[in-house]
Symmetry: none
DNA sequence: AATGAATGAGTATTCATTCAT
DNA sequence: TATGAATGAATACTCATTCAT
């Protein structure tokens, strides 16, 4: 019984992301999500008290996911060059491997009501713990956290998004971007 | 025959942005926009053939705006340092001075159906013409256009957006970001 | 779980016919039908997936009705004269007793999109099974089915419809029409 | 100037029929008709005071058309057999040659508000004048006008309509129908 | 816990018609 | 005469949510 419920909730969560991508933010209605999850619309209200809360909760969970993905790949023994390469390439790999979740989070993060509910810093603090260590060891330059965050992640997001819609090959650009970040951030 | 009322069209355009920001992408309905513009919903269909086209058209117009804003400030006699500072600070200034338009474009650009209709490169090509000149004169490093675009603009966007929701002072960060971009891009 | 309310569905079906006849094919809107059935417009979509399907389904049901009505009155022991009289008078009686359903079907059957969805032959085949028996027994002339159908039913429809709008007394004409059909079709 | 106006009104009239058949009775809106006629919606109100009157007027005109078509083909020197054949085949030929007008009239004639405005007898009286002559000369049986009208025209209409949607070949059936009418109506 | 039925309030869009030129 | 602009009222349909089981 416990497991069945868990299955159902998991199915709902995945259905949200799937429908979001298929139908866009405007087309993602409760009933379509319910249908995708093979569940009654009423059942969704067993797990979430309303649509906003539902989105916020799922958004929160998937927001953290990319940082978990990164921290698992970052090792303290890495050189500074390796660390930066790992972060840049790892984040990009995440956008490819978890395309659905990534796109969902991207779309939601521009929706003020949702993004306010989730503070970005909560989830990326582990990544920054490691970065701070490298800064203290004199390996990385001591730029501020907001600037490092902005410079390390948003260009990769930019490539990941535009690489699909535009013509250029994002993978090829990535090699150069890694070098740029290394020359920018390494001492 | 009645002639088209350009005031009315302008009012509609502004109403779109206003309602979008007040209500979010989901709440921006035709009837709310009509009400905001003091116009009948049917009147909107005199100017746009459907909602999607309406959003796309307004999105397109405001998408270009930030690049016009920039090109007006960029002068060929500037040094490389000045050029980068002008771009970074100019783009940030734009986000502040045209906060509504900027936020509107940000939200729309995450909506796949809209952003596909508007190719970013169309409007920023003038900016890149100048950048290419500086690259050819050996002043700026010859990184690829997608990477330069990603690195120059998206971190500023990131500061502009997060500066509002989070605690840090974006203006202060900006000084450092300018230096970062200068050290990264100048030869 | 709430169960389907068959009363409600029946009320909707009757409301469709009522509103159709009162307001004409153009005035028969979902909301008027809902109002007539004392139901929310949205409820109609619980039972039918869209307006076209709704009309087609009700049209189909009532299309069959007149033939059921006839077959119940036709007995194999009847003479040829009696059979024809039964069909002609029976069909006319149907148009009087089920005036609403008859008028509804008449109107819908001129609407190409609806009448294509419902093949007339489906429901009148039982009537023709009996006619074929009489033909094989040499009692009725062996005219083709489309011609017999056209000659037996459409003039009655014609009387039923025009009898209302014009001055003549359709019942009186009917006696003569019976004789005409008998002389035409009997061997 | 007179001619230009006449052109315009004629174009509108034809557009009504065209749009009616393309879009069905529900899709035939003033603006679509205007577009089809390459005219402004407002222009239609120069010629007709509202939609109902417009339809009624055009319906009336086309209602008469089939009878004009017939009377031109009926000659007083014809034998009874020829007369009936001319009426049946002539009416069928009309439905083929003026398919659009015929379908338009068929659809409108089931719309109570329209058909009440146009009394069928007005236009077919010439046809019946000739029939009465043949009756008085003892060539045709003296059935009542409503029955003759019902029996002569509605089966042909029936073939014309069903011949398109169903499989049978209406032209082939017509030969038999002519014989049926001859045996029914001739003395 | 789970769900199909039910709905009031909303959606984008079109309508017949009138207005102002 | 002719028309594009403008609109209140309507359209079919969907929404997030609750009800009854």
């Amino acid at each position: 019984m416990r497991t069945r419920d868990f299955d159902k909730q998991q199915r709902i969560k995945e259905a949200i992301v799937t429908v979001f991508l298929r139908e866009g933010i405007n087309g993602a209605s409760i009933s379509k999500i319910a249908q995708e999850a093979s569940v009654s619309p009423a059942t969704i209200y067993v797990y979430y008290s309303n649509k906003e809360e539902m989105l916020a909760e799922v958004f929160k969970e998937y927001s953290h996911q990319s940082y978990y993905y990164l921290t698992q790949r970052m090792q303290p023994e890495m050189s500074g060059r390796e660390l930066i390469e790992t972060i840049v390439r790892g984040f990009y790999a995440y956008t490819v491997e978890h395309e659905e979740a990534f796109s969902f989070v991207e779309q939601c993060s521009r929706c003020p009501s949702l993004s306010e509910a989730v503070c970005d810093n909560d989830s990326c603090c582990e990544v920054f713990d490691i970065i701070h260590q490298y800064q203290n060891r004199g390996i990385l330059k001591k730029y501020s956290d907001p600037n490092i965050s902005a410079v390390l992640f948003s260009p990769v997001r930019c490539l990941a998004i535009n690489g699909r819609s535009m013509r250029f090959d994002a993978e090829a650009e990535l090699d150069e971007l890694v070098e740029m970040m290394q020359s920018l951030l390494l001492n």
